[in-house]
């Protein structure tokens, strides 16, 4: 893991505060989340205190600080999905897997993320699990979908 962070940092030879967000995005892309070790490593590289990086990372919704679950759920809360009841879907998912957006369930099977719009308004309300879209989800159908993923364990 550590060498990977170094190799990501090496892509920013002129590393300055400007490259902080792209760096964090690359790390999250690679690791699925920002670990404490990664943040400290970035801090050393950019000569920035860990708290400044943590501050930037917590400002943006896109960064997470726990590893992704085996199945990563993205719930669209865009306008079309909202109108068609994505709030109920989200509520049901939160209840079902027992975590809020940005978190990972204790058994590590699911992680949850709320996204603004995933560009599939025709399928609203839509969710994506591991990049696979599930269209016109309801508070009822979501239970079955989640159960299917659970059964794959």
């Amino acid at each position: 893991m550590e060498t990977n962070i170094k190799s990501i940092l090496n892509n920013y030879p002129e590393g300055s505060a400007d490259s902080l967000i792209p760096m964090l995005q690359d790390i999250q892309e690679h690791d699925g989340f920002l670990s404490k070790e990664a943040v400290i490593e970035v801090g050393k590289y950019l000569k920035m205190p860990a708290s400044k990086i943590f501050g930037v990372a917590t400002f943006y919704n896109q960064f997470r600080f726990t590893p992704l679950g085996k199945n990563h759920i993205q719930v669209c809360r865009g306008t079309a999905c909202h109108v068609l009841g994505s709030a109920t879907v989200l509520e049901e998912i939160e209840k079902n897997i027992g975590v809020k957006s940005g978190q990972t369930s204790r058994d590590g099977i699911f992680s949850l993320e709320v996204v603004a719009c995933i560009g599939a308004c025709g399928l609203a309300p839509v969710i994506a699990i591991n990049g696979n879209f599930h269209a016109k989800v309801t508070g009822e159908s979501i239970k079955e979908i989640l159960e299917n993923y659970r059964n794959q364990e």
């Binding site: 205190p49 917590t58 400002f59």
Partner: protein
């Protein structure tokens, strides 16, 4: 100086410096404009919006804290609209603010609530919503608790950490209404925070509060607040001590006073627990049949004086010696040396400076005529270039380091020379990492590059250096041997880095040097400093403002103890004992026959121990020192002490040394006495009694006077330390113009010759203190160590200090807070050596030198070079001085604490 201009505030004409802060100007002139995010020590933020004013010809309400004043400005500070607006803003803040108040901190928001009549909920235009905002409480730090529900997001803590302390540890996390303060990755204790508490002192609302005494402390019920000098390092920070029931419950920095302007470090703010420790010595004790028994002062003093007299009579006056203390006041050191010279009748008085900056002082006295730091601590911020060599300034002089970090932020160039990584390296433009004990070669190499590139100051050499260009030629010839290639070969530092460092230092408009234990604690310590001085002289980086050489002092009164004569060679004020006129003058002040004063210099610290070992010294009087831990070659020290016929130790705690004493005398700590100390920039600062000494513990000076009297010597009758200081000022011309009255608020830097003399912030501006008034160049060659790594002892051990502990840790280790940060010894080993030795981080190891061995924990890190190791020396369970040797630097008699060959094995 900025132009003085006139502005009008509410029709009153007010004078101010152009460009100064409008809110500050208004407040200085009695306009009490509210404001919570503004603090005069920080850059303006404009976050709380309470300080709004109206400015003629400017639309809208303006936050006065963000406005620089301009000629002719017309300001409205108070009218109904402004007050309405402020009231509304305040109620916005209150809606998000948890108002619980436990009286354990100074709250700035409560007086405003009262002022704007918002105490009753029904008077508030907005309902509270703070319960609905996610509350973050960080309780991980040993020194503070952060509670986001009390935080008004004013930025003061973040800026205190960034701008005042130069640490930049804090930030905001999250966003909008749920924004909160975060250190590190969300946990204060595991962050870069070192616990200085600057953020606590500046927090206006109790969001960051001090942990010690939090449960019991009520600020409104404090018995007294006393301003005194911090008892730890030689920066001399001014502290305000909060006392309740004769116990210290809090320490704050004092604003607007040098040297610290309100700043403190973790030791100064939280290291006070020792004073009220139950382990303090409270009764005199005499050892009988191997057991210490409590006795009365009369019995103890009679016993001590009769034993000293008996030994003096039996073996002659040369058989007695004393260790004075850098942890005691000027007055006490003055009385102690007077005691030795009159009652013992010799000059065998020395103290730990011999183990510290003796070599620096020896070299500086020879070259400059003065051994003290040439600049003021504030100058560390404003000089263009700072060269720090062998000095872990961030850990050992944390407040001086705040000036350095602020300087760096403003563009100062920093050169670090250190064989071991120190936190200052993070701020350095160039870091030279020479092999241990190759400093002379390194500096001669730098001198060579400076000369070859023509970066010398010919004018300075001709006018200010004895022998002018001729003296320079001899240095040039010597330095020519140290070509960059040769220097690289000896020191391991690349030619390129040498060139870079030489260029930055020599060509800087102004440059200062801070030199530390890494340079001085070697058998070539004096030569190291001579080389440094040579570089300083040929570049002319001394003798003008913001230029010079500074040895920051390790203990609260190292500087003062030597200044007032705790020295085997000098009377108070650096007056040599060997000169007959001096003896006559001193004898007159002391009212003793001048023949009774010994004309021969006395023995130094290590010489005293050696003489004890050889049976020549029979009795010792040790005031506030712990030589068993602090002197080199512990085995030898213990043997020497065991051979004494009689040992008296006067201290505040039992120490590793009191164990071997015949009599232990309990003394008052620095929090319990009046008097003065001298800090690293020669500033004479007040000590004031904050609490009473425990049990029957007495003032050190009183004990000395009493013993002398019982030995039949009157060494003076004084009613107070002020009386003693008055006599000292007569004896030592450098203090001539200083009185307690003059230093009531601000210290004065010596020399200060008469009552109209303002003191001296920079030394050597016009002339050096040598006979000719010129500085001297002493060219010195690099010498290899007498002890070098070999098959039996393949590694070299360096030693040093940590931020969180202090010397032999007698004081600091009584503090739970300091122990929470660092309470364990270790040895740092380079990863390559660790692989070779099959060691992992955390392994228990045995470290052996030709003198002895100890057990400790391995810490694998590239902070040290291959072949070198480092140990902190504070911890008695891993006594570094069991490994060091007592070979001394021939000129200064300092011991080589920084270089011992060792072998490291897994236990």
């Amino acid at each position: 100086m900025s132009k003085i201009i006139e502005i009008q505030i509410d029709s009153k004409v007010v004078k101010a410096a152009e460009g100064s802060n409008l809110l500050q100007v208004a407040r200085d002139n009695g306009f009490d404009i509210p404001g919570l995010c503004y603090h005069k020590k920080l850059t303006p933020t404009g976050a709380c919006r309470l300080c709004v004013v109206k400015i003629d010809n400017t639309p809208g309400l303006i936050m006065s804290c963000t406005v620089p004043v301009k000629e002719g400005m017309k300001i409205t500070a108070f009218d109904e609209e402004l007050e309405q607006n402020r009231r509304h803003t305040l109620s916005y803040l209150l809606a998000e603010h948890n108002e619980e108040f436990d009286d354990s901190y100074e709250d700035e928001i409560r007086p405003l609530i009262k002022r704007y009549n918002l105490e009753k909920p029904e008077n508030r235009p907005l309902k509270p919503i703070w319960q609905g905002i996610p509350r973050v409480v960080d309780n991980t730090s040993p020194v503070l608790t952060y509670d986001s529900s009390k935080c008004i997001r004013c930025f003061r803590c973040i800026k205190a950490c960034d701008e005042i302390q130069g640490k930049g540890v804090l930030s905001f996390a999250d966003r909008g209404i749920s924004k909160y303060i975060v250190a590190g990755f969300g946990e204060w204790f595991n962050s870069e925070c070192d616990g200085c508490g600057e953020c606590i002192q500046l927090c206006p609302t109790g969001a960051i509060v001090e942990k010690p005494f939090r449960e019991s402390l009520k600020i409104s019920e404090i018995d007294s607040k006393v301003i005194t000098t911090c008892p730890y390092c030689g920066v001399g920070c001014q502290t305000e001590i909060f006392v309740k029931n004769d116990t210290i419950v809090r320490v704050d920095g004092v604003d607007d006073v040098s040297p610290n302007d309100g700043r403190l470090c973790v030791k100064g703010r939280f290291g006070y627990q020792y004073a009220n420790s139950k382990k303090r010595l409270t009764h005199p004790m005499i050892k009988r049949n191997g057991v210490f028994e409590k006795v009365s002062w009369d019995e103890a003093l009679d016993f001590v004086s009769s034993k000293f007299s008996e030994i003096k009579q039996k073996y002659g006056s040369k058989s007695l010696a004393g260790y004075s203390s850098a942890k005691c006041s000027n007055e006490e050191n003055y009385i102690f040396q007077k005691f030795i010279r009159i009652a013992f009748g010799n000059n065998n008085v020395d103290y730990c400076t011999r183990l510290c900056h003796a070599s620096t002082v020896t070299a500086m006295l020879k070259s400059f005529g003065d051994g003290a730091g040439s600049n003021s601590i504030e100058d560390f911020e404003t000089t263009d270039c700072l060269l720090v060599t062998g000095n872990n300034i961030i850990d050992t002089h944390p407040i001086t380091a705040t000036y350095v970090k602020r300087g760096k932020a403003a563009g100062q160039k920093i050169i670090v020379i250190d064989p071991k990584w120190t936190p200052l390296v993070k701020y350095a433009d160039v870091w030279l990492q020479p092999k241990l004990a190759t400093d002379v070669a390194l500096l001669n190499g730098l001198i060579n590059i400076i000369i070859e590139n023509g970066w010398i100051d010919k004018n300075f050499i001709e006018n200010r250096v004895e022998g002018g260009m001729q003296a320079f030629e001899s240095l040039k010839e010597l330095a020519s041997k140290y070509t960059p290639e040769k220097t690289e070969e000896i020191t391991g530092v690349s030619k390129e880095k040498l060139y870079e460092a030489a260029k930055i230092y020599a060509t800087a408009k102004t440059a200062m040097i801070a030199t530390g234990m890494g340079m001085s604690q070697q058998t070539v310590g004096t030569n190291n400093v001579f080389s440094l001085i040579n570089m300083c002289l040929i570049t002319g980086q001394i003798g003008k403002e913001l230029c010079g050489l500074n040895p920051p002092r390790g203990q609260n009164n190292v500087q003062g103890a030597t200044d007032v004569g705790a020295s085997p060679v000098n009377y108070p004020g650096y007056i040599p004992v060997t000169n007959e006129d001096n003896r006559k003058k001193v004898a007159e002040i002391w009212k003793v026959p001048f023949e009774s004063l010994d004309p021969k210099p006395g023995l130094t610290t290590i010489e005293i121990m050696n003489a004890a070992y050889d049976g020549e010294i029979k009795a010792m009087y040790i005031m506030g020192e712990n030589p068993v831990v602090t002197d080199p070659d512990r085995h030898h020290t213990v043997e020497a002490i065991k051979k004494l016929d009689f040992l008296v130790v006067q201290d505040i705690f039992e120490t590793e040394t009191t164990e071997f004493a015949d009599v232990i005398l309990p003394a008052a700590s620095l929090y319990e006495k009046d008097g003065t100390v001298v800090n690293s920039d020669r500033r004479v600062l007040r000590l004031r009694k904050a609490i009473s000494a425990p049990g029957e513990a007495r003032q050190d000076w009183q004990i000395c006077v009493d013993i002398a009297e019982r030995m039949g010597f009157k060494i003076g009758s004084y009613n107070s330390p002020e009386d003693i200081f008055a006599e000292l000022a007569k004896a030592a011309p450098i203090f001539g113009g200083i009185t307690f009255a003059r230093i009531e608020k601000h210290g004065i830097q010596w020399p200060c010759y008469d009552e109209n003399h303002p003191g001296t912030s920079t030394l050597f501006l016009e002339k050096f203190n040598t006979e000719s008034g010129k500085a001297k160049i002493f060219p010195v060659d690099y010498k290899e160590q007498s002890e070098t790594p070999n098959t039996n002892y393949p590694l070299v051990m360096n030693s040093g200090r940590l931020l969180y502990q202090y010397h032999s840790a007698t004081m600091s280790r009584k503090s739970k807070v300091l122990n929470a940060y660092a309470n364990e010894a270790y040895i740092i080993i380079n990863p390559e050596d660790a692989v070779k030795l099959g060691l992992k981080d955390g392994d228990k190891v045995k470290v052996t030198s030709p003198r002895g061995s100890l057990e400790t924990t391995a810490k694998v890190s590239d902070e040290v070079l291959k072949g070198e190791t480092f140990m902190p020396w504070h911890f008695n369970e891993a006594p570094v001085n069991a490994l060091t040797r007592n070979e001394i630097d021939p000129m200064s008699k300092i011991g080589p604490f920084k270089y011992s060959v060792v072998r490291v094995e897994r236990v």
